[in-house]
Amino acid sequence: MSEYIHHDKDRVSVGVVEKKYFTFAEPPGEMVLESGAHLGPVTLAYETYGTLAPDRRNAVLILHALSGDSHVAGYYSTEDEKPGWWDCMVGPGKGIDTEKFFVVCANIIGSCMGSTGPSSVNPATGRVYGLDFPVVTIGDMVTAQRALVDHLGIDRLLGVVGGSIGGMQVLEWCVRYPEMVVSAIPLATSMRHSALSIAFNEVARQSIMADPNWNHGNYYGGAKPALGLAVARMIGHITYLSDESMRLKFGRRLQDKSDFSFNFDADFQVESYLRYQGRKFVDRFDANSFLYITKAADYFDLGKQHGSGSAVKALSKARARFLVISFTSDWLYPTYQAKEIVKALKKNGRDVSFCEIEAEWGHDAFLIPGERLPMLIRGFLERVHHA
């Protein structure tokens, strides 16, 4: 997702921020996961921006997607080249205004950006977990976030905001801890993966697991399954874009050449782009984390988990006001899936706003700087803040 972030120090920013860590669930008080497995201690990497109001009623929790992290906005140092992944949305005067709100974002468990995941050392054995790391769910991610929110002394979240897998966590928050969530903004997301989404994830996972370096998840200290992870990321990138965005961005243009090479080098710009994105991803992301998080997303089924198969019943638990957003060209989580959320909320008489934003950039549209989304989020948060 970081491909949309550009070095631009002149822009308004939340400034220099710091990644912090919170550790809980020390044995014997381990977290009991949805699978029944125990996990502890658990560390969450998190960042906060803005100031928690004396009445503690201005906290906004941001939930990141597959490859995101706690670094939503700002820079780690004055020399830092790139701001956080949603710097266009979060900062002073922005859609989520850090002058008004206390913004919190934690890296999800199972990830590799500072929170406990398969690449962490298992304190019980002194070795990296690898595939000994238990399978975690969206529910487990949210339970861990709850522990952090409690630790920060927040008992009421003015807003819970996230796109994609982050949007699944938003929905999970609303039914798991309904009394805590005042408003919810699920973006470009779904109450459960379609067969299409599961299929893409499975191909990506197979690509990782087919890499000989993967070695059943036991590659730490040796060569990484770089090729497998790069191909997995390439598949991901195709699903994040759209027919239209790829046509506009690449068309059939060739990369640094005027004719075909008549071999299997990257001829087309789109090939070159995907190879670059794949290579870049390998440097910052752990292949096992990719397996765990995509599995968590595939398992997610709000209706099944919380409503005996009924999304309407599941969302009957929610107390939040909702702003649901989809994007016209998102083929990973198409608008009909957002409308299912809206429909279930309406049937429950919940306060729900919904906008399908015209966008050519596919699923990733929510990450791309633009006017519409920040304005919608600002207006919505203002209303719930003053309600």
């Binding site: 409308k339 306060d351 729900v352 919904f354 934003i357 003053h386």
Partner: protein
């Protein structure tokens, strides 16, 4: 905020005057949310809206209104029975494909429906057709036959007949003389079917 009252279209002012303070309201085809905002600010209603146009939906949400994007004929169905005190359909009926289904759905999700539409039996429209022989084009219905979103022509008498035909009752009505974006107008009491540019009806179960 109070200024909203003066800026609002005359027909919307009449509709607003019919709404009890503190009630629950849904505006079908709410546009940029002028009526909703007026009702929320001045009458303390709990209001929501449905609008098809993304730009208008965005304006509403930016203003802090609860509005969802979609086709009113589809979106009206998902609310639980009796969710609202008033279901408003202002100047949209003439564009609805299945008016009977929509009106029934309105009175399923709400206690009362408020419907307004341009009156096609206004004397100017009658004269235009009579003397020119062309399909009438008026300030209220300013489109040529080939590019109009208004797929139906309705008169005050037609609507009354329709309401009775589907087993409902007209609870209240106003015939007004105003123009589309006009903030001023007057109630027409004498020969309304001939002289009113718009009709506004509150309907309910018999």
């Amino acid at each position: 905020m109070l200024e909203q009252n003066h800026l609002m279209r005359y027909d919307l002012q009449i509709i607003a005057s019919w709404i009890e303070p503190g009630s629950k309201v849904i505006d079908l085809g709410c546009g940029e949310g002028d009526l909703l905002q007026h009702l929320i600010v001045l009458k303390g209603v709990q209001g929501t809206g449905i609008e098809l146009n993304e730009e208008k939906v965005a304006r509403c949400i930016e203003k802090g209104l609860s509005v969802l994007q979609g086709d009113i004929s589809d979106e009206v169905h998902d609310y639980p029975e009796g969710s609202f005190d008033y279901v408003i359909l202002s100047q949209t009926l003439q564009q609805v494909y299945k008016p009977d289904n929509l009106i029934r759905a309105m009175l399923r999700i709400g206690q009362k429906g408020i419907v307004s539409f341009p009156n096609f039996s206004h004397w100017q429209i009658r004269l235009q057709l009579f003397f020119t022989g062309y399909a009438p084009v008026s300030r209220q219905l300013p489109y040529q036959w080939f590019d109009t979103p208004n797929i139906r022509v309705i008169t005050l008498k037609d609507f009354r007949k329709f309401v009775h035909g589907v087993g409902l009752t007209v609870l209240r009505e106003a015939a007004i003389d105003t123009h589309t974006q006009d903030r001023y107008g007057s109630i027409v009491r004498f020969l309304p079917n001939l002289r009113a540019t718009y009709g506004i009806f509150m309907i309910g179960e018999s």
